[in-house]
Symmetry: C4
Subunit: 128 residues, 4 copies
Amino acid sequence: MNPHLTGVGSTMWVVADGYIPPGSSGPEPEMTSHDSICMLNPGDAGARVEVYVYFTDRDPVGPYVLSIAPRRAFHQRINDLEDPEPIPVGTDYCLVAVSDVPIVVQHTRLDSRQEANALMSTIAFPAA
Amino acid sequence: MNPHLTGVGSTMWVVADGYIPPGSSGPEPEMTSHDSICMLNPGDAGARVEVYVYFTDRDPVGPYVLSIAPRRAFHQRINDLEDPEPIPVGTDYCLVAVSDVPIVVQHTRLDSRQEANALMSTIAFPAA
Amino acid sequence: MNPHLTGVGSTMWVVADGYIPPGSSGPEPEMTSHDSICMLNPGDAGARVEVYVYFTDRDPVGPYVLSIAPRRAFHQRINDLEDPEPIPVGTDYCLVAVSDVPIVVQHTRLDSRQEANALMSTIAFPAA
Amino acid sequence: MNPHLTGVGSTMWVVADGYIPPGSSGPEPEMTSHDSICMLNPGDAGARVEVYVYFTDRDPVGPYVLSIAPRRAFHQRINDLEDPEPIPVGTDYCLVAVSDVPIVVQHTRLDSRQEANALMSTIAFPAA
């Protein structure tokens, strides 16, 4: 039923505005303030994705290693990354996602610090 | 009056952050929470668009087949897709739109789960 | 003081999700719901921009002709276009902007139908 | 721990919809209405970034000179630029960021003029 999409996408993606809003309004976990990288692995082989997180005042942290099965969506809240270390809230960061096979990455933030949530989203920058 | 724009756009577009917010505030249908793919067929031939939807934990579904007349806008709420099956709300997904002629695709979400609606939008990723 | 940026940008840009929300909350004109195309002409020559608007069920309308002086910003609310005809509110549309010199176009919507405004923005699709 | 990413990105980026909302709701500085350019310098050499700001009715202003250390994030609120002159609030502008080494730029606005904040974001346009 699905087209053969091996090779669709890019193997390196950059998000430049990373920030997990500190504080939330509304029920958890759906309305918890978060940053996400939403990924599609459209191909016929599994993807091994390494995420590196860059900060303003210290060396980058990573890799955070994620596995995406063939022909699967994978939406990762940055809040939930734990290994090698959690990403602090209320802190400016950037990230680079490097995959061994082409994928597509979209960056989305939900900010519910005030009473009605705000959203922002952009296709990440395909760097390779 | 209109320019000849056959060939403008791309024949494959990817949206990586698909999610229909479950729940809405305000009058239907305009304020109903939804994901949309907004498409332009700028050319002189009709477009046949096949949409494939990818999930986290099961095989992709599709094609959803859409027809766009020449020189027409076509904004499709994902909520309204029915054949081969509706897209569940509150569920992470990605989608690929494949067209037989070049088109342009923009992805937009309206989230009215809380009292004032939130919006996000991005030009989708042109993959071919 | 400014760099020589003639040639920076693209001569054709596409916005696929056009929609002027019908209704607003808050003071006019700043909080009036609107769609905008925000343009930069970074070069040393004036730009003549022709905007064509596409609808779901009728032929495209245009050109709306805009002039941007060299090295100037130009943010155009779609609500304010009048010649050859106003764009109706609450109506799906797409648009193509064709310029005789390279420019850059970003699409932004402010939706204040509900009590706190929502925003969305994306760099338009550079088609040429 | 981090990959060698010298050369990733672009040396010229354009933001076409610049606007600092005049007025804010909520605690400062985190909820103060602002425009930001969020930058990653992924490479092994420091970046010298020159920002030029374009207006509707006067000559561009700049350069605003920013330095980004190797492998560092740098999120700059436009509100905080002071030299050669502050950017006025409530005023349409565009900006061009020129870097001596490749970087990645994302544009984000937080608008808290009304009671719940709105957000918008897009990867800027890579022009070189």
